[in-house]
Symmetry: C2
Subunit: 236 residues, 2 copies
DNA sequence: TCAACTTTGTGCACCCGTTCACAAGTGCCT
DNA sequence: AGGCACTTGTGAACGGGTGCACAAAGTTGA
């Protein structure tokens, strides 16, 4: 049970945490796996298995005590300590990130905003003065930054990332549309808007195809002129 | 091979597509699975298996023709047609999305920007005039919108989502920190900044723990006062 | 105290995705 | 023409995650 929580579980813990926080604000004291699972959009069995990886919190016949579970998940995620974050790139997205309330709310502090553009440096965004990107190493060292957020244009991203890593940052959240190369001691997570849209487009397309196949089944065959090799068979 | 590309593969196709586009811009004509895999940050075997789901593009002994593969992946993702997107909520994040260049570049058109705040309605953002959220149904119907982007505050998200779905939208990209409930005919993808940060925090914490265990192995046991039941054993 | 009811925690079987390893196919050089 | 070097495409083994189903454990009410 201990010693190694599955990645898939870790990825869901923040979702549970948010659902629990909402419940706590509504004054709910205890919650069953069924209810919490519904609020988190997962199956109840999966939820129970996930929580069992943290330990045996929860009472049979009753459910889980909301406050207590919030604390346990927070602790497991490391939210009981404050993580210092530096945001590099204060364009449209950087602005949004710096102003994002829920960003700071729970265990995260924005240590500094950095940008390479002189016109932006010195501006105040989200209560912080934007500093030149040259201060990167200094900021990371002095403020003890652990997490770097890359919100720069694509061409600058790898360079900024390299500097973050060299300065001692071991986790990077990347919004730039490039694959960042890092040593395997560093963890990178990527958020890519156009990737998400493209995945939606794929499913949208399939859905349209399925709708056609329901209406006019014979058409489906005509839409797939090729057995799989692809290159041939396009001509009528 | 045909009839059903695995979800995991679909999620990686946009990454391959971007890497290929970059290669094409650099004038590269053909690429091996090894090279492309490196550029996309995956293993070469995985890449080959992914591409094999689309068909047998690629030449043994040579590699893949870049232009051709770009076309095939684009077609498979449905990017040969234009998808119309409506963005609801033009706050900090909505601004960023509306101005995001790569957003529009490839197969996606922003049909409209909507907001509930009178002070924002009428403003021009990214070349479009922000319209009142009351126009939602009208916009979706008239413009034939397929994809809705929810960038509203959390409390408004579910309501906006319901209206999008009722108006005929079948894919939703959700930036609000809530779990959207939709009929299972609708696909939702969620992008959540604080979730990503929390996942990073977890790994960061583990990494710190590992570093300690390397330096002072005995300490690890002391840091785990409890065999796993959790509730007991906290007192000194 | 006991029985009926509720809910957790988990063993087990199944499925999807990843990785390895190699046969089959292609181009190049002699 | 033939062999060599290279690369794709895929069968097969493996591993992790999911969902089912149920025993264990606790609560409520008589």
């Amino acid at each position: 049970m201990r010693q190694g929580i599955p990645d898939a579980t870790v990825a869901r813990l923040p979702v549970y945490l948010r659902a629990l926080t909402t419940l706590a604000e509504d004054g709910t004291a205890t919650v069953s796996s069924e209810e919490l699972a519904a609020a988190a959009g997962v199956g109840s069995a999966k939820l129970r298995k996930d929580l069992s990886h943290l330990g045996s919190y929860g009472t049979r016949g009753v459910g889980y005590e909301v406050e207590y579970l919030v604390y346990q998940i927070s602790r497991e995620l490391g939210l009981t300590q404050d993580w210092r974050v530096v945001i590099v790139g204060v364009g449209n997205l950087g602005h949004a990130l710096a102003n994002y309330g829920g960003f700071v709310s729970r265990g995260f502090t924005v240590a500094a905003l950095l940008d390479a553009d002189d016109r932006i440096v010195g501006e105040t965004v989200g209560g912080l003065v934007v500093r030149p990107v040259d201060d990167l190493e200094e900021v990371v060292a002095e403020q003890g930054v652990h997490i770097g957020v890359v919100a720069t244009p694509a061409p600058a991203a790898q360079d900024v990332c390299d500097r973050l890593v060299a300065a001692g940052v071991t986790s990077v959240l990347n919004f730039a549309p490039v694959v960042l190369l890092v040593p395997d001691t560093v963890m990178v997570r990527k958020v890519d808007l156009s990737t998400e849209l493209q995945i939606l487009a794929f499913h949208e397309q399939r859905q349209v195809a399925n709708r056609l196949s329901v209406d006019v089944p014979a058409r489906v065959v005509a839409l797939e002129p090729d057995g799989g090799t692809g290159r041939a068979g396009v001509s009528p």
